[in-house]
Structures are given as C-alpha cells and as structure tokens.
C-alpha cells in the first residue's frame, strides 16, 4: 500500500494548477505497507501486533476492502465483516429502531435477518423503551451499547476486529467481552488487532508482528509475543 503524501495537502483547483505549472508538486512516497504476504487459514484466530503507525489499521482496511492496495491483491473466501468502528452511519436524528435498520443495512445484513434478529439486538442492548427515542438524546454509553449490539449480532465467516470492544458500564463490559469471545471462538476466522499481549496470547493461534510497514515476525502466538516484549 503506497501513499503519496504531497508537501501540503492540495485541496483546491487553483493551488493544484499553480503548483503543477510551477513544478512544485512533489510527492514524498511513503509505503504504509510493503511486501506483506501471508495466509490465514479457515477457523484460525490471527493476531496482528505492532507499534503505533506500523500499519495495522491500514492492513485491516485493505483486507476489508475499504482501501485498495496500490499493488498486490487480497483474496477472501467468505463474507468479511469488519468491526473497525462501532456505529458508523448512525444518524443522530433517527430513533434507535430506525438506526438498527440503517446501520444493519450498511453493515450488509439482509432485511429478513434484521427483522428476525431485531428482538435479540434490542434485548442485548438493554435499551428498553428508549429504542424509540432519537439517538441524539442517548448518552455515549447507550450509543455504544446499541452500536455494539448491532455489530455483533452477525455470524460472519471472516471477522476483522480492531481491539476487543468492551463498552458501557462494568456489567455491560463483561457481557460484551463475553460476546466477543463467543464470536471469536465460534469457528469463525478472525483477524484481530490488539495492544493487549495477554489477550493475544490467550486467543490467537498465530501472530503477525508489523514494524514500519513490513513483516517483522510471523509465527505461533507465544513465540512472537515473547520476542515482542523484549
């Protein structure tokens, strides 16, 4: 994945033209990811670790199809559900109920699925009658609970997780962590980014260590985590 970073971000036509004519348009080429090649097997929990800015999130975005790689290909067999951010596409003026359908549709759920799972989503989120209130009136905890309930109600073949999501108050945090564990252990292929090494050790079969946009190490979870900690 290559980014072209120009000196200043050019945001206007005039700037672009004048810079182009003046020959001032230079790009610093920056490879956020380079020479990354690995396979993830079916049913595996695959961890990705690395320092900030090492390209973990970019990699997840490339795999989930949000970014298109400059070179190279990503092959996925099965439906991918990326859980990069909760509540994307929430509309503050709509009610919780309307947002369940909107957010669900954006995440690629079918209408029948949402209708049949609606009660479970509502029950899990513990929102009760607040579900018919516009979500701009929700507290941030309530918002996250709703978002989490929608996002985790699916059973994908490939799940992409950026940090284990534990949201809400203590009780709900436990509940959501359990739900995540349940999702990740249910035979689903999981790609999992975290800074929590103990969690990685506990959950992952293999771990990829990214450093400066390249692969530093790819091996069994314990081995990689041990060398990462040093």
């Amino acid at each position: 994945m290559q980014f072209r970073l120009s000196g200043d971000r050019i945001m206007s036509l005039k700037e672009f033209v004048t810079a182009k004519i003046g020959g001032k348009l230079t790009y610093d080429e920056f490879w956020a990811l380079k020479n990354i090649s690995f396979e993830v097997y079916k049913g595996e929990v695959f961890g990705i670790i690395g320092r900030n800015g090492s390209g973990k999130s970019t990699l997840l975005k490339v795999i989930s199809g949000i970014l298109k790689p400059t070179e190279g290909v990503v092959k996925c067999q099965g439906n991918v559900v990326p859980m990069l951010e909760l509540g994307s596409g929430f509309d503050m003026d709509l009610t919780g109920r309307e947002n369940i359908f909107l957010n669900g549709a954006i995440l690629g759920y079918s209408e029948e699925f949402l209708r049949s799972e609606y009660d479970r989503i509502l029950e899990f989120s513990e929102l009760g009658h607040f579900i018919d209130v516009p979500i701009r009136n929700y507290s941030s905890g309530m918002l996250m609970r709703l978002a989490f309930s929608i996002a985790t109600m699916v059973n994908p073949q490939i799940l992409i997780v950026d940090e284990i999501l534990a949201v809400g108050d203590e009780a709900f945090q436990k509940k959501s962590r359990d739900r995540m564990m349940q999702l990740m252990s249910g035979g689903t292929t999981v790609l999992f980014v975290s800074h929590n090494l103990s969690q990685i050790k506990e959950l992952c079969d293999r771990v990829l260590w990214l450093d400066g946009g390249g692969v530093r190490m790819l091996d069994l979870a314990d081995l990689v985590c041990d060398s990462y900690e040093i």
């Binding site: 596409g89 059973n155 249910g186």
Partner: protein, 493 residues
C-alpha cells in the same frame, strides 16, 4: 450459532440460483414489455409521431403598405414556391382604409404547372377589420406541392369606396416570388403566410424501428444468457445482482435522507410540496407584473420549469456532497461507492414526484386537463434522473479532489438557471444565446414536460432521441470518471 451461519450461506446460494432461473423470466418480461411499450407509445404519440410543424413555413412579412383597393375586377396575384410537405393553411393580412366595407373577397390558390385550382375560399369584407389576418385552412392537407410554382390570387366584388385591400411589404423579395397587382408586376411581397406539416422520418419507419429494436434486444439477451451459462459475468447480470444485493441498503439510505431532512421541521414532508409552490408564487408575481411575457398559461409554464430545474439543482447539489458527506462511512465500511450518489438521486426523485402534485393542481386550476400525453412524462423524468446521476457522479468525484467544486457549482447552476427558459419565453433570447440553448439538455427536458402538460400532445420524436441521448452521454461520462477515481477517494477524505 451454527444454524445461523448455514442459514446465511444457503441464503447467498439461493440468491445466485434464483438468478439463473429468474433471469429467463426477467428476459421474457423485458421483451414483452418492450413490445407492449412500443404499441402503447404508438398510440400515445399519435399524430406527433408522423408529422411536425414544417420548418419550411412561409412566414408573414411585416406590412408597410397596402396594395390595391380590391374592387370588382381588380386583382392581386402572388406567385410563390414552397417546400412544405403537407400544406394545411394560408393566411392573408388585410387593410380596410379604416372604414366599414362591403362585398365578398375570393381567395384562390392554383398550382401553375398543371393549372389546377387547389383552394377556393370566400370571405365577407364586412368581417375584416384593419390589420386583420384571415386564415384559410384546407379541408385536407395538400401534399406533393414542394417546389411547384403556386399562385395565390385575391379578387373581390366590392364597390369602390367600400373595398378592402390586402397588405404588402414593398422591400421584401424572395426567389420565385412575384407579386402583380391588376396584372402589373411590382416589387415587394404580399403579406401572407403558408403553414403546413412535414413527415417525420422516424414516424414513417416506426414499425421497422420497433422490429429491428426487438431483434437487437432478443439477440443481446441470448448472448447474455449464453455467457452466464459459460460462467462469465456480463455487465447486465452484475448490475442485476448488485441491485438485488443492495436494494435494502438503498432503501434505508433513501429513508434516512428523507427522515433526516424534515425530521425537526414543523411542516415536515409538506415542504417538498410547498417549496415549488411558493417559489412559483413569488416568481409568478414578479414576472407577470414586471415583465409581462406573452405566454398563455404562464403559471403552468413557469411551474413546469421550476419543478424540473429544482430537481436538477437539488439532485446535483446533493450528489456533489454524497461522497465527501459520507466520509465517515466510506473510511470505515466497505459499500460500493456508487450507492451514495444513487441514493441521493433517488431521494430527490421522490421529492420531484411530490412536487409534481402542486404542478398538477395549478394546471387543473388554470383550466388545462389531463390528456394521454401525461403517460409520456415518466420517460422524460427517468431520462432527467439518469442525466442528474451522471452529472452528479462527475461532480462528486471532482469534489473529492477539489473542494472548490461546491462553490463553483453554485455559480454554474445559477448561470445555468438563467440560460434556461424557465420564466421567460425562448423567443426573447438574442440569436447568439439561442445557440447555447441548443446544447442545453435541461432546455429539452423542460420543453418535453411543457409539451405534455401544456399542449397535451407528445413532443416530436427527435425530442425523445435528444433526451435519451443526453441522459446516456451523461451517465457514461459520469460513471467512467467515477470508476476511474473511486479507489483514490478514501485517500482524500
């Protein structure tokens, strides 16, 4: 959890299998629909499919002189040549010497090659007032006179002192036009006009077009079905799959646009209805008092233009922002990016349909009643929507890379509005600007709507072709640019 996964998987497979079988049903519906539409269109278009107002009409000269006092025995003869395929009427302008006249005026038209009389009409001189233009319509349009020398002969049986006089223009002259008064040839031209219709080529060959079209359609479907069988994925098939797959998402996004737009306003969705009505009211008051254009049913004329142009500017303005405005989604979830412009165009389209209601109300209130031509409106509205989608995709892509686009577009759409005859008649434009009109797609869309709503007839076939042509060009261009640039959107958001 397990059965859930299986359920999802079987659902996906089901969808694909369904497509194999339903594709054939779709194809049949498509072909039958095409044939049905062709026949329905034939009847809806009616006369307008076959004839259009001739471009060779001879127009009336401005009068600057009288000819002779048309007493018994005097005569005015004007020879002329025309290229009208079906002559329907001849008009003559009269002077009366500002008095009341008596007697009868005779108007005859001859074809000079065979010396055949093709029209004989009488008119009571008493009915004629100063500057009166009398129009004589042929019982049946006369055909086959293109290029033939014709003679318009005017005589009367009035007494001197109570006779009228046909008017003339002393400076006008045209090849093959000769005016003689009482047998003496004089320079100038009689003030007369000849009107008629021409055959339309498409209309003459309509059924041939339909048959050829049907064959092409069947051929294309067979090729598509065949390549699907061979495991390829042709464009049509992919589009169908995408529509089935993202139907729900599109519906949700459109619903969001709607709910969010009016959520916190008191009148809510009524605004879609009130907006064009109020705009029209203001413009109607301004323009009908200030400028006084001589347009029959001015309020309808105005509202047709406003409704169509509002849709255009709203749809384009919204699609312009569709990518940048949904940045938070695009950078977090994968959804085909064309979904965003598409939903915006669809939600504005629903707005347009609501705005059609006040248009119809004003139309009825003005005394115009629905005709079968209304059934032709969906064609132009769909063409317009496709046109907006294409342009919108182009703008949305441009907007991602150059944020100046939104301000630029504001100016462009304003200039565009003034260049489109919304509130003024197209005839007031100077000829230099009128040329611009020929390349203005909105002009054709609006003209089409006005023909259906105001005249209650189908526009000429060429209008269908033009509307379709502009829509296709726009969507091809827009989709091409969008497809080329969409992978880089996310880097600039």
């Amino acid at each position: 959890m397990k059965p859930n996964i299986n359920w999802l998987i079987s659902k996906v497979e089901n969808n694909l299998a369904l497509n194999q079988r339903t594709l054939k049903i779709y194809s049949k519906i498509l072909v039958i629909g095409y044939l049905l539409m062709s026949v329905i269109f034939y009847f809806l278009a009616g006369e307008q499919l076959h004839f259009r107002e001739s471009r060779e009409n001879i127009n009336m000269q401005t009068a600057n002189s009288g000819t002779v006092e048309l007493t018994s025995g005097s005569l005015a003869e004007q020879t002329f040549i025309n290229n009208i395929q079906r002559i329907t009427s001849v008009s003559v302008a009269w002077g009366t010497y500002n008095r009341h006249n008596k007697g009868t005026v005779y108007i005859d038209v001859y074809e000079l090659n065979g010396n055949i009389q093709i029209m004989h009409q009488e008119l009571s001189a008493g009915e004629i007032t100063e500057g009166y233009i009398s129009t004589f319509t042929f019982e049946k349009p006369v055909e086959g006179l293109t290029g033939a020398p014709l003679l318009l002969k005017i005589t009367a049986d009035s007494m001197p002192g109570s006779a009228v006089s046909p008017l003339m223009n002393t400076a006008a002259s045209k090849d093959g036009f000769l005016l003689s008064l009482n047998g003496n040839s004089v320079p100038g031209m009689l003030c007369f006009s000849v009107k008629g219709e021409d055959y339309i080529w498409i209309g003459l060959h309509y059924w041939k077009f339909v048959v050829v079209g049907a064959f092409l359609l069947v051929f294309y479907i067979l090729v598509t079905l065949h390549s699907i069988k061979n495991g390829k994925k042709p464009l049509l098939f992919m589009a169908l799959v995408a529509i089935r797959k993202y139907r729900f998402l599109i519906r949700q996004l459109v619903a969001r646009d709607f709910k969010a737009k009016y959520k916190r306003s008191f009148f809510g969705i009524l605004w879609s209805f009130l907006n064009p009505l109020l705009t029209m009211l203001v413009q109607y008051l301004v323009f009908s008092n200030l400028f006084r254009f001589d347009i029959p049913y001015y309020s309808v004329y105005l509202l047709c233009g406003i409704v169509i142009f509002n849709y255009f500017s709203e749809a384009c303005g919204m699609t312009l922002n569709s990518i940048v405005g949904n940045a938070s989604l695009i950078t977090k979830v994968y959804v085909p990016k064309y979904i965003y412009p598409l939903t915006r165009v669809i939600s504005s389209f629903i707005n347009l349909l609501i705005a059609m209601v006040p248009l119809l109300i004003v139309t009825f209130a003005s005394g115009l009643y629905p005709t079968k031509a209304y059934l032709l409106l969906p064609f132009v509205l769909v063409c317009l929507a496709v046109f907006c989608l294409g342009l919108g995709m182009l703008l949305a892509s441009a907007m991602v890379f150059f944020r100046d686009m939104q301000f630029l577009w504001g100016v462009i759409s304003m200039v565009w509005m003034y260049l489109t005859p919304l509130f003024y008649p197209e005839s007031i434009l100077p000829s230099s600007v009128a040329i611009l009109l020929k390349g203005n797609p909105l002009y054709y869309f609006i003209k089409f709507v006005r023909a259906c709503v105001m005249d209650g007839i189908s526009p000429e076939p060429i209008m269908y072709v033009l509307c379709f042509f502009f829509a296709v060009i726009s969507i091809l261009l827009g989709a091409f640019v969008f497809k080329k640039t969409q992978d880089r959107f996310v880097l600039y958001l």
